[in-house]
């Protein structure tokens, strides 16, 4: 065979080998990069950093534990230990013998124990064999049975042996123990000292960066048992709606927010707040004795945080409200609620940007976006809280920014008027209701439906004011009253603002003028024109006094200038007053706005002017009404009326009217139609269309517009809308109405905030036809108000939580909330405290004895029948006749009153009706109660002389300290059990009450103490003792009872019950609706109170008799 010719290679092999070497190296590097990229995660740095923080904490605590005293004690123990050893050494021979003996016994015991256990094991096996043999009817079953019985015997024998050996071994142990006794005692004491220290050291080993931890967390080995790992909470029933399916929520936030449920990593401000709260509790003995130790340890911890040189920054902070959220004892524990259900964000994400963090401000956004290397953030950035790219534009549910955290409450708490511990969101929801957002924007949830209209009826506007005033008011409500809730519709930034070209600006002014004129013309032409009869001249000084004292100020303000931050007076803002006081309008300028005749009748009977008027009647007498009228008429703002009213421009009116007409007809038809119309007709036509355009009818009753739908965008799921559905226009930085600079971030919260703050801002720099421009009026919201309203809107999402997670979902709470909603709509909080919030009027009343009552415990306190009667007609009982503030007559319907009463009862966990009011206590209890009543000197303040509930004698109010209700009113009014409860803990029920705490709590046990326990044996009480003794078996029983606060309060209750009246007057008939006759006939005069009804006269005979006392 011919040898084959060598075939040349296509490529030189050396070159290929070189390429192979290089590409393999590249592959190795790429693979290394892959592992590195997979291994190095941002969250690991956060965990490491937190471990370091924890280590610091532990070191601190260890330092605190290892103080000089402990060291000295340990040294002492060491010394004692050595002494013990010396002692053993002295008796060395005896000790060694005993020790050897013990060793032998230990050996024997081990053997005996093993024999016994093995025999037991054999026994169990044999039992099975016997059973099997019997069941299978085997021939050897008898033999097996015998074998089994033998084994039992053997086990018993071995057990006896074991017990014997154990006894002997224990004896040997004791013999050795004699020598070691002292050293063992020392060891026990040392252990006592070292337990907590060792625990800390164990914790320290877990977090320190030592060799074992390094190996456990090494790349490729970290799948076994790493100490750095992703933490998560799986929430099955708080699922996430992925449009096609629901998936369980898996919150991993605590992977980086490691301290979120661990107290001890608070910010300094937060620590100070908590410290004060705990110290307050400690000082007031409100903590259970068993929890005092923990509380003191916490105080020390918080003090350390405050004293530390550096702040703890996020993500390492503890949740600021552990009592309410996240904490295991809170209503929202971490394992059941997670994080994103409230905060939103991407639950499974473990990266800053992907998690959906939303910046609260531009400053924060800039800080977050910063990195040292472009785009790629690393630990060198994290410590400065820089995170590179932050916004995840594809996330449907980005987190709420910091100022809107409480928006997360709404989803579950929308069925509530008040969210517990959520004062801000409760107030915000109240604000949304009061400012009338739901009037124009449908919000389809319980809280914001079935509300009353926010503005007064305009059907009788001509009766109370003039067109000239109305024009100026509509043009600029805030320049008449800086605190008004009426928003400004006209001359806003998209009409006359700086970005509107000047030629267009002038035209817009003409068009806006025309629209206002048309509205005024329309309203005044269609208004009713009843003639009102005045009440004659009054005394303004007395009127002012009345306004200040009888309760007008619960709902109204009479002030438009307040001292500013710089000391100069400035215009008042809504923020300067509690929300409740904006329920009614600001009284300033009333004299400019209206006529004394109308005002007099309005004050006397608001429902006579408008059946739906929110203002209740204060049952003013003619004199009072006249005085108040004359006072209010002195509140004038003449400067307002001197502002010029431009005549409507005929061209503008015609143009606007034509704009509407050509929607349904041709140009020529419209023109000829307009030619037929007079100027007045044109204005009337335009007025109707303009009221429709701006939706005036949403807040005001206007005849002819009853059926129209609200004009605003529906907000029911506004918080879930994606960002691309928001038109940001060309707006970025802008100046709000108050001159403050605002920046619009490209986030939904920022859009909404700026929308409510400067409603027309998204028209800036845009070119739009006049009627297409944004129409939302300017409420002149302050930044705080705008933020609160934004929070509520953000909370309105499409997420639906399951029934069991919804707050106030049970039947009882529904009753409570229905009541609360009605209370919110009637502004009860203007005067009363409800659930620890409210009583706006309180700031104006210096003496707490004159404050309207706190209704927090009302449900448990008052009987439903009485409450119903009282709500229908507050004159049935004057509980505190010295009060100047009057409970108004709201003219509730039976339905409304029943809802309120049921709400109260449900809130107090009480049945609506109970049998106690028909029952009398045993005579013995009454007798004892009477003595106790005297011993505690209740009569100093309280009276038990029966009086007419509707007209009780007014006590001497010079000494306001001793003002107290007449106790004979208690039985028809109060709940039986409540009386005793109240006697025991008045200050806990109503903090700051004048009722003294006669039975203080014992700080050790938390129980009630009786002041009579000691006093009964003093000579001053000898008379009482003698009177009481016949009711008890012996003196010991008497003493025992006198020391028993519960028994004493029950006796007192029975006494109070026994002196009570039997019945109260029936509620009066509804006051007549005063409709003035068309002829100028006198208005029917009303007395300050409805005439006594026959029932009432019968029920309360003269004051001389003693009704109800048996």
């Amino acid at each position: 065979m011919k040898p084959q010719e060598p075939i040349p290679h296509n490529y030189p092999m050396r070159k290929l080998n070189l390429i192979f070497a290089l590409s393999s190296l590249a592959l190795l590097l790429a693979t290394g990069g892959l592992v590195f990229y997979d291994y190095v995660r941002g969250w690991k740095w956060f965990q490491l950093e937190f471990n370091r923080l924890q280590q610091e904490r532990i070191d601190q605590e260890l330092g605190a534990k290892y103080d000089e005293e402990t060291k000295a004690r340990l040294a002492e123990l060491e010394k004692e230990d050595r002494e013990g050893q010396l002692e053993v050494a002295r008796n060395r021979n005896a000790y060694v013998t005993a020790q050897k003996d013990l060793e032998q016994w230990e050996g024997r015991h081990y053997a005996a124990d093993q024999d016994y256990r093995f025999a037991r094991a054999l026994l169990d096996a044999k039992r099975y064999e016997v059973e099997a043999a019997i069941v299978q009817r085997r021939a050897d079953r008898d033999a097996k049975q015998r074998d089994y019985d033998d084994q039992i015997e053997k086990v018993e024998r071995l057990n006896l042996t074991l017990q014997q050996v154990t006894r002997d071994r224990d004896a040997a142990r004791e013999r050795v123990g004699v020598f070691l006794e002292r050293m063992r005692a020392v060891e026990a004491r040392r252990k006592e000292i070292l337990t907590s220290i060792e625990l800390l050291e164990k914790q320290r080993r877990q977090v320190q960066l030592a060799s074992t931890n390094l190996i456990l967390n090494a790349p490729m080995l970290d799948f076994i048992n790493p100490t750095l790992k992703i933490e998560q909470v799986v929430l099955e029933d708080l699922s996430i709606d992925m449009n096609y399916m629901s998936v369980p929520r898996v919150d991993r936030c605590m992977t980086c927010h490691r301290a979120i449920d661990r107290p001890g990593f608070e910010s300094k401000a937060e620590a100070e707040r908590l410290l004060n709260a705990i110290q307050n509790d400690l000082a007031r003995n409100l903590l259970q004795p068993s929890r005092r130790g923990d509380a003191e340890a916490r105080v020390a911890q918080l003090q350390r945080i405050i004293d530390a040189p550096t702040q703890i920054l996020n993500p390492f902070r503890t949740h600021p409200k552990l009592d309410t959220f996240v904490g295991s004892a809170s209503p929202h524990p971490l394992l059941e609620y997670g994080c994103t259900v409230c905060h939103r964000g991407q639950d499974r994400a473990t990266e800053f940007g992907r998690a959906g963090h939303t910046p609260a401000s531009r400053r924060m956004e800039i800080r977050w976006e910063k990195t040292k290397l472009p785009i790629i953030p690393g630990p060198w950035d994290y410590s400065n809280r820089n995170y590179g790219r932050t916004i995840n534009p594809f996330l449907d549910t980005p987190m709420y920014p910091r100022q809107h955290y409480e928006a997360g409450c709404v989803k579950c708490h929308a069925g509530q008027v008040d969210v517990r511990e959520g004062d801000r969101i409760s107030e915000a929801m109240q604000m949304v209701e009061l400012y009338g957002c739901p009037a124009c924007h449908k919000i389809d949830n319980w809280r914001f439906t079935d509300l009353k209209k926010n503005g007064p009826s305009l059907d009788g506007i001509a009766e109370k004011t003039t067109p000239e005033w109305a024009f100026r008011w509509i043009a600029s409500p805030q320049s008449f009253r800086s605190t008004t809730r009426m928003p400004a519709f006209f001359y806003q930034r998209n009409m006359v603002g700086p970005t509107v070209p000047s030629a267009e600006r002038a035209q817009n002014v003409r068009l806006q003028d025309a629209e206002i004129h048309s509205i005024v013309t329309f309203l005044f032409t269609n208004s009713s024109r009843r003639q009102w009869q005045g009440g004659g001249a009054g005394d303004p000084a007395r009127g002012k006094e009345l306004v200040d004292t009888i309760g007008c100020m619960g709902c109204h303000i009479a002030q438009d200038m307040v001292p500013g931050e710089d000391g100069e007076a400035r215009f008042a803002r809504r923020d300067d007053f509690p929300l409740e006081r904006h329920f009614g309008f600001n009284l300033t300028g009333t004299g400019t706005k209206t006529t004394p005749e109308w005002l007099f009748n309005w004050l006397k009977n608001p429902k006579g002017y408008d059946a739906h008027a929110p203002m209740p009647s204060l049952r003013l007498s003619d004199r009072e009404a006249a005085d108040i009228t004359s006072y209010l008429m002195t509140l004038r703002k003449s400067a307002f009326m001197s502002a010029p009213v431009r005549d409507p421009d005929p061209g503008a009116v015609r143009g606007l009217a034509k704009g509407y007409l050509i929607n349904t007809m041709t140009d020529t038809q419209a023109e000829s139609r307009l030619d037929e119309m007079s100027m007045h007709d044109q204005l009337m036509y335009l007025g109707g269309r303009t009221i429709e355009k701006y939706g005036c009818y949403s807040c005001h009753d206007i005849k002819g517009f009853e059926e129209l739908k609200p004009i605003g965008t529906e907000l029911t799921i506004q918080g879930s809308k994606n960002i691309h559905l928001f038109d940001f226009g060309f707006a970025h930085d802008h100046e709000a109405w108050d001159g403050k600079k605002e920046h619009i971030l490209h986030t939904v919260p920022s859009w909404i905030y700026n929308k409510v703050r400067s409603p027309r801002v998204y028209d800036d720099k845009r070119t739009k036809p006049y009627n297409d421009k944004l129409k939302m009026p300017n409420f002149q919201l302050s930044p705080r108000e705008a933020e609160m309203i934004t929070s509520v809107i953000l909370g309105l999402t499409k997420e639906r939580v399951t029934q069991n997670r919804r707050a106030a979902g049970d039947a009882r709470m529904r009753q409570v909330e229905e009541g609360r909603k009605l209370m919110a709509q009637n502004n009860c909080r203007g005067c009363h405290v409800v659930d620890q919030r409210g009583r706006a009027i309180g700031a104006l009343i210096s003496d707490p004895n004159f404050l309207p009552p706190d209704l927090t415990p009302q449900g448990a306190r008052a009987q439903s029948p009485w409450m119903f009667d009282f709500l229908k007609d507050p004159t049935v009982m004057k509980i505190r006749p010295w009060m100047q503030v009057r409970m108004p007559t709201f003219e509730f319907t039976d339905d409304e009153a029943a809802v309120l009463v049921a709400g109260f009862a449900a809130e107090g966990h009480q049945p609506q009706f109970d049998t106690m009011r028909h029952q009398m206590p045993p005579a013995r209890n009454v007798a004892i109660g009477r003595e106790v009543y005297a011993m505690l000197r209740c009569q100093q303040c309280h009276s038990t002389v029966p009086a007419d509930p509707a007209n009780p004698p007014i006590p001497d109010i010079s000494d306001t300290q001793s003002l107290a209700p007449n106790l004979t009113f208690s039985k028809p009014r109060l709940r039986h059990d409540w009386i005793a409860d109240w006697l025991r803990r008045p200050d806990e029920m109503i903090p700051g009450t004048r009722m003294p705490t006669n039975f203080p709590r014992d700080p050790e046990t938390g129980g009630f103490q009786s002041p009579l326990a000691m006093a009964i044996d003093t000579p001053q009480f000898a008379g009482f003792k003698a009177a009481l003794l016949p009711h008890f078996e012996n003196e010991e029983a008497l003493r025992r009872t006198m020391a028993d606060a519960i028994a004493l309060t029950n006796y007192l209750r029975d006494y109070v019950w026994s002196v009570g009246l039997d019945r109260t007057p029936a509620p009066g008939t509804m006051p007549q609706r005063a409709v003035p006759p068309s002829a100028p006939a006198p208005v029917p005069l009303q007395t300050s109170m409805p005439p006594p009804s026959p029932t009432r006269t019968a029920a309360t005979p003269g004051s001389g008799t003693v009704p109800g006392v048996r």
Binding site: I7, H9, N10, L16, S24, L27, D396, N722, H724, L725
Partner: protein, 407 residues
């Protein structure tokens, strides 16, 4: 700079860039592959076309831009001639285009779209397409020269040699494998999977884009009714590709690169693949933004940009605009002009067989010719419809709502 960006923005508008690309395609064939001259009938026709658009450009600014770019390209192609296939020139073109792309990345709007992880492979595709087309045409050109000079193609010179499987084949394959693995790994680390929001039937993304390989089809939807763009044309593309080996029986050019031997085959394929398919994908990827509106490469994708809806049907054009009378009630009469045009267009196939395509007809035989001509006409219907849309805002040639039939 702004002027340059604006210039490119205008040029990239679909109508202009499409015509420009078609023109470049023709230039390259004429000047660079067939050694054409400006001083020839065809060359003068090119110049006249450019002159007409320049004159029109006095009134319509985009056309002026078009004319400028047109003459630049014309000049470049004519000047370069066959030198286009020299490696040095090829390298310069590559460097220039890479530089242009790199500098464009400094523009925030361009960067935002080009650097999107979805779009990066399409960016790379532009260069790969250009490179491989250039390599193929270069080989074809030199082979053609060899053959013209009486030689044999380059591929034939080496086809007789034998090589070992190892190392010549397997080793190089393995090296490619390693290289590819490295590239994929680095890519997957560097560009993360572009995950977007959870799918939601009520809020579809804007623009809602098909996967990149279907963007050409989606782009066709702009010009055709869905049943044509989504059903008929894609089917014909697939069927047509399968039919090629049966239609094309030309034995020459097998196993080596050559252009002159297969002018029509290669020309048609490249036009269909580069201009009618790849170009549409690139347009769909980089230049179609929210609402499927057209955005230049340096333009911000503003959702608020509106495109006026002013397209009209041929029936309206004919009856209302031309004859100034209302549309006939009966659909057959109403759509008669459109139907006539459509049938006439399809009737071109036998007509051409007697005219300019006579030699194909004779060479291929009737069945092959008709299938091929039919496919050819359908392919050309796309650019024709596009141009009709741009020139006359033509929506449909035939619109019979009665049968939901739109052509």
């Amino acid at each position: 700079m702004t002027f340059l960006k604006n210039f490119i923005n205008v040029l990239s508008v679909a109508s202009i860039s499409f015509v420009l690309l078609t023109a470049i395609f023709a230039f390259i064939i004429y000047f660079n592959l067939l050694d054409g001259k400006i001083r020839s009938k065809t060359g003068i026709a090119f110049v006249v076309f450019g002159a007409i658009s320049a004159v029109a450009g006095i009134f319509i600014q985009p056309l002026l831009y078009f004319a400028v770019a047109y003459f630049l390209v014309l000049w470049g192609c004519a000047e370069l001639g066959p030198r286009l296939w020299e490696p040095k020139i090829g390298l310069w073109i590559l460097i220039a285009s890479a530089l242009g792309f790199g500098l464009s990345m400094l523009d925030p709007n361009f960067y935002k779209i080009a650097a999107k992880p979805d779009n990066v492979p399409i960016g790379a595709m532009i260069f790969l397409l250009g490179f491989f087309t250039w390599v193929a045409l270069r080989k074809a050109y030199y082979n053609d020269r060899q053959i013209a000079a009486g030689g044999i193609p380059w591929e034939k010179t080496e086809s007789d040699e034998k090589l070992f499987t190892w190392p010549d084949l397997v080793y190089t394959e393995m090296l490619c494998m390693i290289g590819l693995t490295v590239v994929m790994t680095v890519w997957s680390i560097g560009l993360r999977a572009p995950l977007e929001e959870a799918a939601n039937p009520t809020t579809s993304p804007n623009p809602a884009k098909a996967p990149w390989y279907f963007l050409g089809l989606q782009e066709m939807l702009v010009y055709f009714d869905p049943w044509l763009a989504g059903v008929v044309l894609p089917t014909l593309i697939v069927v047509g590709l399968m039919a090629i080996p049966y239609i094309d029986t030309n034995p020459r050019g097998n196993g080596y690169y050559s252009f002159r031997e297969r002018k029509w085959e290669i020309g048609l394929f490249l036009y269909g693949f580069l201009v009618l398919w790849s170009f549409l994908i690139i347009t769909g990827t980089f230049l179609r933004g929210p609402n499927w509106s057209f955005y230049g490469p340096y333009e911000f994708w503003d959702t608020n940009k509106l495109e006026p809806l002013v397209n009209i049907n041929l029936s309206e054009l004919f009856w209302v605009k031309l004859l100034a009378m209302p549309l006939p009630k009966l659909w057959l009469i109403r759509e008669a002009p459109g139907l006539l045009i459509v049938f006439a267009y399809l009737g071109l196939a036998p007509l051409l067989a007697r005219g300019p395509f006579r030699r194909f007809y004779l060479k291929m035989g009737a069945p092959r010719y008709y299938v091929g001509a039919f496919l050819f006409l359908f392919m050309l219907s796309l650019p024709i419809k596009m141009i009709l849309r741009w020139l006359f805002n033509l929506k449909y040639l035939v619109q019979i709502q009665e049968f939901f039939l739109n052509i």
